[in-house]
């Protein structure tokens, strides 16, 4: 991960590298199923299975497979042609749900970004990467260490703050998260900060008490600035399955999700669950994480994601 060559590669090649390694098998299967064979129902069923294995879920998989099969029955196709049309079918699903994370062109100041998600999805790491990125672009950034529950979460964030050269507002473990966030926003205003990044403790969305606590954080922010938080990012782990839908629904209800970040796409997970998640929610997908270094967090590109999911190079 540290050699200079790999750092210089563009994000797409890194994404495709991450994804192709995992999608290679799938694509090979797809190609072997369809190349030089007339497409029939059995073939389509197999394709549907392959999409299910990428976590698209039974319904979305059926829909994509159908779109793929349209007008293709009884015809022969080359491997590349199959990949192209499969990517296209997935891109069609995702394109309306592609969004942009752009706190710097917003009139709001400080622009408050709230990070929410279940435990271990990568909130703190994502926040750290964003802090470094915004700071590099010349913004005045501040971090609020709102995870006052997990052991050493504050230390973890402080390391990120140091790396990025960004102040971190923190209290002790067990402190009231809402109170801390309130103070952070006050300080951010006083210091004329552009972007305030608010970390929160990971919580399972079915824990009522913890979700109430999150609702309180939002309420308290609104007291100082009725328009805050200006962005609420739900951080999803690429390995997550159908539960992503429940997470989306619950976090949206509590904190009003305005964007989705998918992390850990550099593993074997394909993150296909983005398709049903995007479809079931109003919040667009904004960022994806394809590795551990700071510039591995990238804007979401529906077409690129769809293409790399099936093992195609950039257009």
């Amino acid at each position: 991960m540290t050699d200079a060559a790999s750092e210089k590669r563009g994000w797409f090649s890194r994404l495709t590298q991450g994804l192709t390694r995992s999608s290679k098998q799938m694509t090979e299967q797809v190609v072997s199923v369809f190349t030089k064979v007339r497409l029939d129902q059995a073939g389509l069923d197999q394709l549907e299975d392959l999409l299910i294995e990428a976590d698209l879920g039974p319904q979305a998989a059926a829909r994509v497979a159908e779109a793929f099969g349209k007008g293709r029955f009884g015809r022969e196709a080359s491997a590349d042609e199959i990949k192209q049309s499969l990517a296209e079918a997935i891109a069609v699903e995702l394109l309306p749900h592609q969004g942009l994370f752009d706190p710097m062109s917003s009139p709001h100041k400080p622009f408050v970004v709230l990070f929410v998600g279940v435990n271990g999805s990568g909130k703190t790491t994502t926040l750290g990467k964003i802090a470094a990125d915004l700071k590099g672009k010349g913004a005045k950034v501040m971090i609020a260490a709102g995870d006052t529950f997990r052991a050493a979460a504050i230390e973890q964030l402080k390391v990120w703050g140091e790396r990025a050269g960004v102040p971190v507002i923190a209290k002790h473990i067990g402190a009231d998260a809402a109170g801390l966030v309130f103070e952070a926003l006050e300080q951010a205003r006083a210091q004329n900060i552009d972007v305030l990044l608010v970390d929160t403790a990971g919580r399972l969305q079915n824990k009522t008490a913890l979700m109430d606590e999150l609702a309180k954080v939002v309420r308290v922010l609104k007291k100082l600035d009725p328009t805050a938080p200006h962005e609420t990012l739900l951080v999803l782990d690429a390995t997550v399955g159908r539960n992503a839908l429940s997470q989306m629904e619950a976090f949206d209800r509590t904190a009003g999700v305005t964007g989705v970040v998918m992390t850990k796409l550099d593993g074997t997970a394909r993150g296909g669950v983005l398709v049903p998640v995007a479809e079931a929610s109003h919040a667009p997908i904004k960022l994806i994480g394809v590795g551990e270094s700071i510039d591995d967090l990238q804007p979401f590109n529906a077409r690129g994601f769809a293409r790399s999911l099936v093992g195609l190079e950039a257009e």
Binding site: G128, A151, A269
Partner: protein, 500 residues
């Protein structure tokens, strides 16, 4: 959110009623529903396929075709099949009986919960096995990972290897081994950095750590929320490490946890523990039945009972039980029940965990009964004087007007509440007369559906459920408060939710 498998199957078989004998095609159709249910629960596709093939062999047998309720039969076959595939009913413990220190190596993807689970495991071993445990973090990558383990160790009063900056993971492993030997520890738990299985350098590192420490237990920590990737991850780790078992974290979430089945099926490794909460002692022995029920969307009675136990005010429950035994149930008791329900996550929270009540849930939603209704009813009761609460008959028109003004509701709502209370009180009175027999009947009714509510599915089978309830302790007799047609409350029986 999801229909339970039982209801789906009922739907399939309903269409077939009146035809008498089931054909193979009918069974196929039913199994397609099973397939979708398993996929929705995140069971990996190859595992699903395998499972369906096996289930089909059994389901096409005589028993199903001639069964009065084929949907129940199919669900039973599927449920039993799942339990078997998950590793049967006996949980597998840890192998620690070697020359100390017995080394436990924890591995997994980033964010699966290794560090927290290491500490939970250490606490569990210390408490249940009375062994001295040392923990060491080999995570040199994530910022403050070592501090996290140190903090957890402090919290759980477990010894942690002092941090030395700049050491590589294998070096820390060696240092931990000698520290454990010198310090006379029985068990050494090695927490490692999270890694993707594609990262060759990192996979080589963990393999080297395993070689250095020759662990007696190498546990893969995986997230219950994992989707189809579960098989790939489990396989890849299994190829590189001498895995001896799995631990599934975040089992207290609302994921249906098909990952458990996938990983178990692919690796053949036993699932040893379930991480089930934020607290440092929240690590449960694996229970195949519970997980099977969850995968099928059968609701999670065990969780419900546990939650009730956690939230239940013992003294209050006993007091109430005494009153109920005498057939007394006043508005104060009703208010207590309303509060209790809200504490347990409200109507939707409770219903979500009950098996086979999806239809009832829809009806409740349609009737406009929401958690808000409960809050309002509580407000009405608290607007009454203590005397009125004990003797609702005192409430004449003028008193009702006063209460309505106090609670900010219409008088009709007060009447409705009083009627509801009347019905519940009558039910309790009737119950106290026949010596608790109808309580048992009610518990029975709760298994198949809510009293007074048509429908309700038939989940795994009555007998299974009752066994489950029995295991959870005390049975569910206390649930289903009094057969009030609309208000299932929590009537406390003497100690109904004592944990086993």
């Amino acid at each position: 959110m999801f229909e339970t498998l039982g209801e789906r199957l009922t739907g399939v078989f309903d269409r077939l009623t009146g035809r008498g004998v089931l054909s193979e095609k009918d069974v196929d159709e039913a199994l397609r529903e099973v397939r979708v249910a398993l996929l929705e629960a995140d069971v990996a596709l190859p595992v699903v396929r395998d499972f369906i093939t096996r289930a089909k062999e059994q389901a096409t047998g005589e028993a199903v075709i001639r069964a009065v309720k084929p949907s129940e039969q199919v669900v039973k076959i599927v449920h039993d099949g799942l339990v078997e595939m998950l590793g049967g009913e006996e949980p597998v413990g840890l192998e620690l009986g070697v020359t100390p220190p017995a080394v436990i190596l924890m591995a997994g993807l980033q964010g699966s919960g290794k560090t927290t689970t290491s500490a939970k495991l250490a606490v569990r071993i210390t408490k249940t096995e009375r062994k001295r445990v040392l923990m060491a973090s080999l995570d040199t990558r994530r910022p403050a990972a070592m501090e996290q383990l140190a903090a957890l160790g402090k919290q759980g009063e477990i010894d942690v290897l002092p941090i030395m900056a700049g050491q590589s993971a294998p070096d820390i492993a060696r240092r931990a081994l000698s520290a454990a030997k010198l310090g006379g520890f029985d068990v050494l738990i090695l927490d490692t950095a999270g890694r993707t299985t594609l990262d060759e350098a990192m996979m080589a590192e963990v393999a080297e750590i395993a070689r250095i420490s020759s662990p007696t237990e190498t546990l893969l920590v995986a997230d219950s929320l994992t989707g189809q990737d579960a098989v790939r991850t489990a396989k890849a780790f299994h190829e590189r490490l001498p895995l001896t078992g799995l631990i599934l974290t975040r089992a207290d979430g609302d994921a249906r946890g098909g990952a458990a089945l996938s990983m178990r099926a692919v690796t053949g490794l036993p699932i040893k523990f379930l991480g089930a909460g934020e607290k440092i002692d929240a690590l449960d022995a694996f229970d195949a039945r519970r997980v099977a029920g969850r995968i099928l969307g059968a609701g999670d009675i065990v969780s419900l009972v546990e939650r009730a136990a956690a939230d239940f005010d013992q003294a209050k429950a006993e007091k109430m039980a005494k009153k109920l035994a005498k057939g007394q149930f006043d508005l104060e008791d009703l208010a207590d029940q309303l509060r209790q329900m809200q504490k347990m996550g409200g109507m939707s929270g409770i219903m979500g965990m009950l098996p086979g009540v999806q239809k009832a849930k829809a009806q409740i939603a349609a009737s406009g009964m929401t958690d808000k209704t409960f809050k309002r009813q509580e407000a009405i009761i608290t607007s009454m004087t203590p005397v009125e609460r004990r003797k609702p008959d005192l409430l004449n028109a003028s008193r009702k007007r006063r209460v309505a003004a106090g609670a900010g509701v219409e008088v009709q709502e007060i009447n409705r509440l009083l009627k509801q209370h009347r019905q519940m009180a009558d039910a309790f009175k009737a119950m106290s007369r026949d010596g608790g027999k109808s309580m048992a009947r009610m518990a029975q009714a709760m298994g198949g559906g809510m009293p007074g509510m048509p429908g309700g599915g038939q989940m795994p089978s009555q007998a299974d459920l009752q066994k489950m309830m029995g295991q959870a302790g005390g049975g569910l007799g206390g649930l289903g408060g009094g057969g009030g047609p609309k208000l299932p409350g929590l009537g406390g029986l003497p100690n109904p939710f004592k944990k086993p």
